[in-house]
């Protein structure tokens, strides 16, 4: 395995671990959305690595564009939900989200 392939694989795994660590260790809703975004960056990196290994970047590019569109929509909708929750509860702490009755 060449150095670049190895480095990309390790970087992607480290990004996934960082994202999962943030997901587990934080209680702030916006930080959780940012953690999901970090994991999605790792997926983008793995897709381009797949293209590099297969010898063509064309198909992974099409997939990456799809991933980016989904990433943005998830970020926008999640940020909207976070803002609504803040207006409703006055806090973004997920431990205090125990009032889900409307």
């Amino acid at each position: 395995m060449n150095t670049l392939t190895m480095a990309m694989l390790v970087t992607a795994f480290l990004l996934i671990v960082t994202g999962l660590f943030m997901l587990v260790r934080t209680n702030n809703l916006i930080r959780i959305i940012i953690a999901v975004e970090i994991v999605m960056k790792a997926i983008t990196l793995l897709l381009i690595l797949a293209g590099y290994i297969n010898g063509s970047e064309l198909l992974p590019q099409a997939f990456i564009v799809t991933v980016i569109v989904i990433e943005v929509v998830v970020a926008v909708v999640a940020a909207g939900i976070a803002i609504r929750i803040y207006r409703h509860n006055g806090d973004l702490d997920i431990r205090k989200l125990n009032r889900l009755n409307g």
Binding site: N2, T5, T11, I38, I48, A62, I68, V69
Partner: protein
């Protein structure tokens, strides 16, 4: 030369992601995410995925950062941050050690199992452009993207709809 720049970019991606997790300030956290996106765009460009790099830089590093900055500003989390500096530091202190352990474990597993991947030439898509692949081969993806964008726009419209009672 390209490979060296790629390796440097990959190293800085990990550093920026760690910084994103370690910063207590939400705005610094969002800016670190933008740095991760910008560096990832550099990696994509150097790997030959120029269109993906363009989208990553303009949409992820630009638009998503603006969305997060707006959300942080609207929720004013700095005033309501329940944990202090010391508490936050304790909470994220383990991350660098976990990452070092994961990296080393991954190296050991790759070395022990003899896991081997070599880049190979692909003749299937020779002569095609990104435009051909996206619009002619992945039409279902484009349709799916349109539906996802419309669903997102509809969701935001519902979320911020003025209440009838008000």
């Amino acid at each position: 030369m390209n490979e060296t720049i790629l390796l440097i970019c990959l190293a800085f991606i990990v550093i920026a992601a760690i910084a994103c997790a370690m910063f207590r300030s939400m705005l610094k956290c969002a800016v670190s995410l933008a740095v991760v996106s910008a560096l990832l765009a550099c990696v994509l460009y150097l790997m030959g995925a120029t269109w993906a790099a363009l989208f990553e830089l303009s949409v992820c590093a630009g638009l998503v950062t603006v969305v997060f900055a707006s959300a942080i500003s609207l929720t004013s989390t700095s005033r309501h941050q329940p944990e202090n500096e010391e508490e936050h530091r304790k909470r994220v202190a383990g991350l660098p050690f976990i990452l070092i352990a994961t990296g080393m474990m991954l190296m050991v597993v790759i070395a022990a199992t003899g896991f081997h991947i070599e880049p190979q030439a692909n003749a299937a898509l020779v002569g095609l452009s990104f435009k051909d692949v996206l619009w002619n081969m992945r039409q279902a993806d484009v349709l799916g993207q349109i539906i996802v964008i419309l669903a997102g726009a509809f969701a935001v419209a519902i979320l911020f709809k003025e209440s009838d009672k008000a």
